[in-house]
């Protein structure tokens, strides 16, 4: 029996209502996420954080409309959605630029789909390329760029479609810590400039605290909402905030919530590994 859904904010742009996602495996049903509800207000930056295996990516795919057959509902500005929606722009964890297109053509991709004339879309693409700090690289191809630059191209491509909600799944996971902090600055700057509603899926506490207004902490499998933490750090923020005392307190608070879940996940994985080893012996 699902728990009754919490009251959602009246002006919420995104409402996730009692989402449960079950996968049937050879070892029985596995609940990736169980009865997850939350909402995101316009212009808000919300992060979803949890240990590996808590169903973060499942949640990302459900909200983005890439996964069906779930219980519950996802609605954008009051409209229940059942697949990919133009109001939601997705940035993926894996490198997702098109290697056969130049930076400009990558960013102009969503504009090409809506039939925008070539000159106009190139102008628009250049605007977003400048926004992510890649001016001067318009004619380069992804193969000529670093991993961080390629993720910025993906971000610019998604922003060019002018989504109401920017949905990102650990977009900086494959990058080194310094690049990650600097790109975090860039995302914050863009989010504040465009007043972009953003939902970030991450397992990085620093990244989440640096950028978010609220952080939703998830439990290990099945993924449930453990707690929602309000981050009352001043804005505009930059990566310099990571050295502040308040920042450290938030990181410690979230880690204390997460540690128990992460330990549970580790124990569970060890037990599974032993079970498989025993079965194959």
């Amino acid at each position: 029996m699902p728990a009754s859904s919490p009251a959602h904010a009246d002006n919420a742009i995104l409402v996730v209502d009692n989402i449960t996602m079950r996968f049937d495996t050879s070892e029985g049903a596995v609940f990736a996420v169980d009865d997850v509800s939350f909402d995101v207000k316009p212009g808000e930056f919300l992060s979803v954080i949890g240990p590996s295996g808590c169903g973060k990516s499942t949640l990302f795919n459900v909200i983005g409309g890439l996964l069906g057959n779930y219980q519950g509902a996802v609605s954008v500005t009051g409209e229940t959605i059942s697949g990919p929606h133009k109001s939601i722009g997705m940035v993926f964890q894996e490198e997702s630029t098109f290697p056969w297109r130049s930076v400009t053509d990558n960013v102009a991709f969503p504009l090409e789909l809506i039939g925008m004339p070539k000159e106009t879309r190139i102008e628009r693409a250049k605007h977003f390329i400048g926004l992510v700090g890649l001016a001067g690289f318009e004619n380069r191809y992804p193969g000529e760029l670093s991993g961080g630059m390629r993720q910025r191209v993906s971000l610019a491509r998604t922003l060019a479609s002018e989504p109401k909600i920017l949905l990102m799944d650990e977009p900086f996971a494959a990058l080194d810590e310094q690049t990650r902090l600097l790109l975090g600055d860039k995302v914050l700057q863009i989010q504040q400039q465009l007043k972009q509603t953003t939902l970030l899926i991450t397992h990085n506490i620093t990244e989440a605290v640096q950028m978010s207004d609220r952080i939703l902490v998830m439990t290990y499998r099945p993924g449930k909402v453990k707690r929602i933490v309000n981050i009352d750090l001043p804005r505009p923020r930059t990566s310099e905030i990571v050295s502040s005392e308040a920042f450290g307190r938030y990181v410690a608070q979230i880690w204390s919530d997460l540690r128990e879940e992460a330990s549970r996940g580790m124990r569970d994985e060890d037990a599974q590994a032993l079970h498989h080893k025993g079965a194959s012996a």
């Binding site: 409309g65 098109f98 290697p99 056969w100």
Partner: protein, 260 residues
């Protein structure tokens, strides 16, 4: 370092592979010349390269090599266009219908290694003793690699790129033309290259076997007359057809997919 010196060094780097390749060819010819002239290689099996080079003029003038060259080139081009259209389309259809792929992929793979050239009498009966028999033999034998590499290319498209397309709500056609096809192009070109190799071998082989037109027939004629320098000179023209094809294909690939 000055700008002109830098550009000279860069030009030298650009031409280095071509110069090295040409140098190796010249060295090989000189070595063969030496081996034949000293009697280590029998000149009745391999004529000295100098004699082959000297026979070019005779082969060009007396054997109408250019009209034969054009005929073989046209046959290869026709088979190449056909195998690109039907091979890629076949691969796409087989990828689209999983049952068809599961049912036929092994057969197509088996066909790639079958000696289809031995079926030339059947093709002679169907198409008659004309260029179409040769073209169809080249086309059929070259089809499997194009089909198989097209399937491989489309299936190998990274999941995340497909998901990007889905997140932008692409239709099935848009998903194919804007993501799957360009992502599969490198593999498709590998298939076409392999296909063209198969097609050229079979086209020249069938020209040789049925003694009809083109460079294959010329090689047959010259070999039967025991004109070994002329035979090797004609083989050089076959190699030229191959070189022309691959250069053109590389240009098309660069145009379609400038960089990876």
């Amino acid at each position: 370092m000055t700008a002109s010196a830098r550009s000279q060094r860069s030009a030298a780097r650009d031409y280095a592979p071509a110069v090295t390749g040409f140098g190796m060819l010249v060295a090989f010819l000189l070595l063969m010349e030496l081996l034949v002239q000293t009697g280590l290689v029998n000149r009745f099996i391999v004529p000295p390269p100098s004699e082959i080079i000297a026979s070019f003029g005779r082969v060009i003038v007396e054997e109408h090599v250019f009209s034969r060259f054009v005929l073989t080139l046209t046959e290869c081009l026709t088979a190449g266009v056909m195998l690109t259209i039907f091979g890629v389309a076949g691969g796409v259809i087989m990828h689209r219908f999983q049952l068809l792929q599961q049912a036929c992929e092994t057969w197509v793979a088996a066909m790639a290694s079958a000696p289809i050239v031995l079926m030339y009498p059947l093709f002679l009966v169907i198409f008659g003793r004309n260029s179409w028999t040769i073209i169809m033999m080249g086309f059929i034998s070259a089809l499997p690699p194009v089909i198989l590499k097209t399937i491989e290319g489309i299936s190998g498209t990274r999941r995340v790129l497909v998901n990007v397309g889905r997140s932008f709500n692409l239709t099935g056609q848009q998903q194919f033309w804007k993501i799957l096809f360009p992502a599969a192009l490198p593999n498709i070109f590998v298939g076409i290259r392999l296909g063209l190799i198969f097609a050229l071998i079979n086209i020249v082989g069938v020209e040789f076997l049925i003694n009809y037109g083109g460079l294959g027939q010329l090689i047959n004629d010259l070999a039967e007359r025991y004109d070994l320098p002329g035979t090797y000179a004609a083989i050089c023209f076959v190699i030229l057809v191959s070189v022309l094809f691959f250069m053109t294909l590389e240009k098309i690939e660069r145009w379609l997919r400038p960089i990876d």
